[in-house]
């Protein structure tokens, strides 16, 4: 009967109950939606960056991270990647040669980052291939051809097919130069990428840097599911156990990106918590009002012999009902909105025509939410728990009423 009593009690003030339920639901739906959209953006960002750079997991010389230099390389990469590609969780592997140099044209010279890639695989996965604004992406048969960013092209006044000279120090420290031509121009929206990155075929840069065959500065692993990262790292460390190699998660390879995501995720949760905290005041007020205006009724229940604990249970049950309805509605609405944003995405290009960059990395202006069970469980659980906890405070007042005074009134 306590359940029935509690259920009917919450509906005796329908409008107030609806306002409470809508407050809980609205707050929770907003929290779920914004967290899911943020998680989607992080996921997109990470996918885009790791596919363009050194993968979800990177194998490199243990000394490279502290002092990146072209001679700190990984040898025997052919056999190594063949072994790694046997792992179920690995979608593909990629070889990279990363170094620094100077790009020079008739119009001037710019210090650039040189990235040697395997065009066949990169064309399918790299965001650069999808962001070409002129020309074509690199092909497997290409040699002295490069793709460059639009800003770099503008600074060096380079058009498609025009020549530029790349100058660098090779592994033995000798100054080396190679002539190449612009095959494509990309625009990602990121000043760092568009202004300073030169991508070229791996074999071309290998020759420029004087690297021996079957070597690279990094072996990158693209995973089918990024959640498998730690399992793959463990497996790869097992495979490379006899060799002096570092197997690193992308978070260590790109710590600034990992830190940005951590900080942004933290501030997002704090914002949602503040929003919910404000909503909780409304809920607390509602529950308190509902208890105070029924002081006489609680006095009657106590007079009839109802134990204080049973009165408390009744009020907590009412709060649980409010929490369940509110959280149920919030999770449903938030889940549906996030699901829609996951499938169709939210196109921000109209609001940000200049492109979207996060932490210096360009990302697609179409954000796809990423709704996960932990988001639903955590946000729903926190709001429900907070609602029930808030209900405990008025409960104490209900059983402390003066039965005699209330009945006299």
């Amino acid at each position: 009967m306590i359940l029935r009593l509690a259920w009917r009690s919450i509906w005796r003030q329908k409008r107030r109950t609806l306002i409470t339920v809508v407050s809980i639901g609205f707050g929770l739906a907003l929290a779920v939606f914004f967290i899911a959209v943020a998680e989607g953006a992080y996921s997109q960002l990470v996918e885009q960056v790791v596919r363009m750079q050194a993968g979800h997991v990177t194998i490199e010389n243990p000394a490279y991270r502290d002092a990146p230099a072209i001679d700190l390389r990984v040898d025997g990469v052919g056999r190594l990647r063949a072994e790694i590609e046997r792992l179920d969780q690995v979608e593909s592997t990629k070889l990279l040669i990363l170094g620094q140099g100077v790009a020079r044209s008739g119009a001037g010279a710019v210090g650039v980052s040189l990235m040697g890639v395997e065009p066949a695989g990169e064309a399918k996965t790299s965001p650069l291939s999808r962001n070409l604004v002129a020309g074509q992406y690199l092909a497997p048969e290409d040699d002295a051809l490069v793709v460059i960013g639009r800003e770099l092209a503008e600074r060096l006044k380079l058009d498609l097919g025009r020549k530029l000279v790349l100058t660098t120090n090779d592994v033995s420290g000798q100054l080396k130069e190679e002539l190449c031509r612009v095959k494509g121009v990309f625009a990602t929206g990121s000043p760092e990428v568009d202004g300073y990155l030169v991508q070229a075929p791996l074999k071309f840069l290998g020759r420029l840097f004087g690297l021996p065959p079957d070597s690279a500065t990094q072996v990158g692993l693209i995973l089918k599911d990024p959640a498998d990262q730690s399992r793959v790292i463990k497996a790869v460390r097992g495979l490379t156990g006899g060799r002096d190699l570092a197997v690193l998660p992308w978070q260590e390879v790109m710590p600034e990106l990992a830190a940005y995501i951590r900080m942004d995720r933290g501030s997002n949760w704090i914002m949602q918590a503040i929003l919910l905290f404000l909503i909780m005041f409304t809920i607390f007020n509602t529950i308190l009002m509902s208890v105070l205006e029924r002081s006489r009724e609680f006095a009657v229940l106590l007079a009839l012999g109802t134990a204080a604990g049973q009165v408390r249970r009744q009020i907590i049950t009412e709060t649980i009902y409010l929490g369940l309805i509110g959280c149920g509605a919030g999770l449903l609405v938030g889940g549906l909105a996030s699901g829609a944003a996951q499938v169709w995405g939210i196109n921000m290009s109209a609001l940000m025509p200049e492109g979207v960059t996060i932490s210096g990395f360009a990302v697609s202006p179409v954000f796809h939410a990423k709704l996960t069970w932990p988001i639903l469980a955590w946000s729903g659980g926190l709001v429900f728990g907070a609602t029930v906890l808030l209900g405990l405070i008025p409960t104490r007042r209900a059983v402390r009423v003066s039965v005699v005074d209330q009945l006299r009134g």
Binding site: L5, R12, R296, E297, A303, L304, L407, R408
Partner: protein
């Protein structure tokens, strides 16, 4: 006739520090099982205070109170709750039904507190509601009942658990005289036929006349105790 209520030197003070109001002044009283006793007296004479103390809703400042053989001053809050639930019935002036429960659910509330199975308590309560003249109105909510009907539900609730004593604080004060007379007739019939012990306060001379014993309170003291015809009431 076993003693249900025994009061010895009961005093009750309200207020604190220098402003103290003495509501009861050394009241001695015994009530036996099966009695149909009324209590009368002017406003502020201590009637409600006495009922509250007997019902374990309030504690005396001094004196001994025994109900159904148990000393109330020695009982904890939880024990008092259980005593009220199992051995006492209450009828209030304002009916005080639970607005979100139907007549049937209100009447069975105490039986539910006692943990009785739903089927058994429903059967029992339906019979009681029939007895108090509410057959066919079991599923109505209090707002759908007249004042007299609501007080009948309150009476059904008070007697459903077969208490040793039913305490009623001015049970006819909020109904018209005809309904009041009918309610009192019902209580008296329950007393005669079922042996339910009633102790109620009233202002109404017509109600007092129906009691078999009338206790008159004045200034917190018992000023008279005996058959109604022998008492002199001052308002």
């Amino acid at each position: 006739m076993a003693t249900i209520v025994s009061l010895k030197g009961v005093t009750k003070d309200y207020g604190r520090d220098n402003v103290v109001t003495r509501a009861l002044r050394g009241v001695d009283l015994n009530l036996g099982g099966g009695e149909f006793a009324a209590m009368a007296g002017p406003s502020g004479s201590g009637k409600s205070t006495l009922l509250n103390i007997i019902g374990g809703l309030d504690r005396p400042t001094e004196g001994r109170v025994e109900v159904d053989g148990r000393s109330l001053v020695d009982l904890s809050g939880g024990e008092l709750s259980r005593l009220r639930r199992d051995r006492l019935g209450f009828i209030f002036q304002n009916f005080n039904l639970i607005p979100v429960l139907t007549a049937l659910e209100n009447a069975e509330y105490v039986l539910m507190l006692q943990g009785q199975a739903q089927a058994a308590r429903r059967e029992r309560v339906r019979a009681i509601l029939r007895e108090v003249g509410l057959e066919g109105l079991e599923n109505r909510f209090p707002r759908e009942l007249s004042g007299g009907q609501q007080q009948r539900v309150a009476i059904a609730r008070a007697i459903a658990a077969e208490p040793a004593l039913v305490l009623a604080d001015e049970p006819t004060a909020n109904v018209d005289s005809k309904t009041g007379a009918a309610l009192l007739g019902l209580m008296r019939r329950l007393n005669e036929e079922k042996g339910v012990t009633f102790f109620f306060s009233t202002h109404d001379p017509a109600v007092m006349k129906q009691a078999r014993r009338l206790i008159v309170l004045r200034d917190g003291r018992i000023a008279g105790d005996g058959p109604p015809a022998a008492q002199r009431i001052e308002d």
